[in-house]
Symmetry: D2
Subunit: 353 residues, 4 copies
């Protein structure tokens, strides 16, 4: 939809606009209102170049886009029919909980093994554990390849799938070779399109592998976030979970700005599961249970929570934001109770859409 | 705490700083670290003028304030001992629900009377109804004094206390004279200190009157928000409810940025009750139940919800964001169930603090 | 423009939509695109109630508004022809500079008199000075009626118009009676519609009085800001200057988020003069000259700057953010040089629009 | 600096805190104030793990960090003495201008050759041209290796250094092999630490190569932005230019939130040159000259501007935001005039720091 600065386009302007959209196989249809005439773009308006060229005309006030820019991830695409399985459970049939420490300590593997066993006992269906870590400070601990073996040993001992973050192609290859089945893309790399493409390509023929795509700290939940997922899905594997984890903090004193409320906005536009990370949203163990329940209240399909048997012994964010498996157990029981309470509505919404 | 730009203050700079804080009865205590010396302000550092003068020195990097600027509203003040009653109920003993239409339609009073009866039946303990309305557009409906009579008639019929927004001293006087016992300060006037003072003064001797103070759209939850409440409390009536209602929208597509997560931050600093307004936060009826449950998950003491028996017949925001009394009833039942689930924790927190 | 959630409206939905807009004398015109049909609202779509009712329909994805909600302030309105005079100078013919202390010290009037003389000598055409002050902290200095006499004595001595902030009707009456000709509305009251209306009414027949309307800390520059000005203009006096002064700080370490860049956005939509306040934007004297030049680079018509002959002796924000008259003099000379450099472009833009 | 929730730490809490910081070779020094005791950390407090562990204690209100987390990039480090040369010019001696199209069109190389010649003639000292492009939409044009040859041919024809964005290690190797001497890291990859490390390593022994590091859309200008540069500098090559280019848009209607005002904040903390990108900040050709002058007003060392001889023929952002070489020429002449006007102050600041 083209809105001119003046009340209407001059004949010469209209010819120019028509010629531009014509190059992209679109037509212009004027809509004469009482005070002003606007101009609909009839055809497929999704080409950014066409929009850029129109926005470059100095007599144009603004362009309102009507179509969503993503295809496969759209709620109405054919991919909406599938259901994602993580280990034994199917998303949508119960609340998924992924839990474990922020960072695996390669010098003290038992913390990981014991935490993994404890979060399984508390009700988690998958285990998280950081092998490599993106750190603001270049002199902080950045991870260790040995932790990958520890992660996989934890997988074997618990029988649960494991989730770890990969930041480049070398880590991606190592993780897949080792048998990691949940690849995490961190907030800092959510717009690293080279990495997203590499992941999409690497898992195209690996239906047992899924991706937990964290939201970048400044992404709008719709266009940018879902489009990032589209980069992966374009290669053919639709096993994608979108993970709100807080955005750039503005007013309130959390580590990030909690954004579990983005969940229903995402679910209106895409069929992808939404798995919220309350730990990074609020950044402090004491607030994690509240944020987890809030995520479920907003309709989340799952939670990804940092947990450690002795948070103060953790080597990443755990001392600050990990909850104990005991707290996790209470949290899971409350969250599942709330999830069941809301289930009839969720089913209805699904049906109505 | 004074942080100089250089690794320490020169003797001359230290003399100047000492002299400035001395005018405010404070002293300077240097703290020599391994790499840098910083300077503690010993004494009552709450005077803004002292801080402004220190910040004006070009060799100062920054001042970190240690003390909170509010007194009466502080969680540790004597006022923390009281409990606020709204009608028959006591805040903290159960979840407060205030509900009713955005705006009373003076031409169709029955919508209000029927809505009031219906939300009472659904479980609300107080009724809201807008008599005067702040509107971005100066040519939109701005309210009508006749609606005040309708509001009070609704109060009489239901036997419940009523809440309405006042925007200036004339409206304040009319509302108090008519018998309104919950005065609402809207987001746009949350920093209108003349109005806050006028309210504080008017209700100083009126213990039956309380104030629902909405958060401004850009207020930090602690300093600015709690300080605004301090303006009212300074006159002696501590019946104040703080009302998060969404802040300036940034990334996510809600009317405002939902901020129910501010609740625990507020409760760590002040004893005041926190009553969340989910209707303005999300701005769309379909999201109101989720936002209400999220508020309870974060520990809210109450909810203020727009409801209308026929939302499409409302004259303010109701067609867009009011829920029906039927939806309200389900919401209240779920919210109270969740509130009970979390109650043991809340009690414990109260005790620990 | 109505965008349905599905690819088009069903016949029943179309009837409902048509009936709603019909109540507001509008019609619906469908626009069939290749992938989707959207629906134009033909007629005057500015009534918020109509939009609210459409947004309340659960099969509507969103409404894109085509028309601006303000009338008198619109760049194309008849009021665009007038030119505002402040004292001897006409806005648009040279760069306006208003300067003076944040707050007048009633115990030390000479600071004000000497500052007023010095900023006049430095090139300012109007004097600012705070009589009453909005303060976050209720226990900070809040102003003093005696300062009004000092302000007016400064006006007499310099022969220049004076600017002071008014926060309620009582202050408004006092200021007008005393002879203040530039009324300042502060950021905290920019959405205080009762005050804006009171000012509009009070100056309707006072063409010698103008208003400096500061932007609220979270206002979008177009709809909300210009609409606030419309509240004043609606009574007949169009002497309004819009004053960007920084918005809620997000990422960068200033007192506020500098927003001089809002200037060209405002000037594309309204004829009102834009007078930027660099002092509150950056909040520190050292950055004020840079912010002032940036404002002129973006096309500002004027600057409102805090200045004090001895900033450390000031009683408001002056110790931190006031510049000396000497710095002001250099700043004004550079700013006017830049203003002249850009003048041919400004004239051209004016012509083209 | 440790601020407890209560007025002071209990003996047991103090022992725990002392024990934690002791593991990191730090000590605790209590500072008894009139109302409250706080606790200084004496030693090197820069280890994130120590801070995380302290923040994890439930009796701690907050930790105020005193030391900056970056070392080499600190304004006071030894690296501050060097001066960066780009082609023939030395940063700081005159205003650097890098200009050229957003994206090289591999099918129409002449647009690039002619633009390169024209921006050189207009006064640019380096040429920019996108070979590979990060695009939100996975189906948009993503770049072409053939454009690298066109870029280098432009370098040969003009004799100027060229700047292009690299997004992964493969592109990095290709660009360095071809002779690119200004590597651009885009906003989306500003926190891609794997890439930053790869670049640092690849150019460690290549003093003729420099990096233009764009600010991510949500980075604070100090800690995160300068720390990202530290990742590169840690390998030994200090040729780094920091490039503000707008942050996540909040209130104002630009493509991004213009952030040229971050320049003086950066320059107070680091010795690195600041080169502002006005094109992405404002996102529209008409605003680029104003934003460029504003950047110079705030003390920028250079500008990186999108320019194209026929913007409407460009294939990336050019139709919308590129200016013509003719506009560029006027802009450069005004910007250099302003830069000279401010030069004495800049020299003084440099000296004073």
């Amino acid at each position: 939809m083209i809105l001119p600065k003046a009340n209407s386009l001059s004949p010469k302007q209209l010819r120019e606009v028509t010629s531009i959209v014509g190059e992209f196989d679109c037509q212009i249809q004027p809509i004469a209102g009482a005070l002003r005439t606007i101009y609909a773009i009839v055809g497929d308006e999704r080409d950014d170049l066409m929009i850029n060229r129109l926005e470059g005309l100095d007599y144009i006030d603004r362009i309102d886009r009507i179509q969503s820019p993503f295809k496969l991830m759209d709620r109405r695409s054919d991919l909406a029919r599938g259901r994602l399985k993580i280990g034994e459970m199917t998303l949508g049939e119960q609340l998924l909980v992924i839990a474990g420490p922020c960072t695996i300590d390669p010098k003290n593997p038992n913390y990981f093994y014991e935490t993994a066993a404890a979060v399984k006992e508390a009700g988690a269906q998958a285990i998280r554990g950081g092998v490599w870590k993106p750190r603001t400070n270049p002199y902080s601990y950045q991870g260790d390849n040995r932790s990958l073996d520890i992660l996989m040993e934890g997988a074997r001992r618990t029988g649960l799938p494991v989730d770890t973050e990969v930041m480049d192609e070398a880590q991606l290859a190592l993780a897949l070779d080792a048998g990691v089945t949940i690849l995490q893309v961190g907030a800092r790399n959510a717009l690293n399109y080279s990495l997203l493409r590499a992941i999409g390509r690497a898992i195209a023929q690996r239906p047992e592998v899924s991706v937990l795509l964290k939201r970048s700290m400044h992404m709008g939940p719709l266009n940018e976030f879902i489009s990032a997922a589209e980069y992966i899905a374009a290669f053919g594997n639709p096993n994608i979970m979108l993970c709100p984890r807080g955005t750039t903090p503005t007013l309130d004193g959390y580590r990030n700005h909690p954004d579990e409320s983005a969940t229903p906005l995402l679910k209106e536009k895409t069929w992808a599961a939404v798995v919220v990370d309350p730990s990074h949203s609020v950044g402090k163990a004491a607030y994690v249970p509240a944020a987890s329940l809030a995520a479920v209240a907003y309709g989340a399909d799952g939670l990804c929570i940092e947990s450690h048997i002795e948070p103060q012994k953790g080597i990443g964010d755990d001392p600050k934001q990990a909850i104990t498996p005991e707290t996790l157990k209470t949290l899971i029981s409350q969250a599942r109770a709330l999830w069941e309470l809301k289930r009839p509505e969720a089913a209805e919404t699904q049906h109505a859409a």
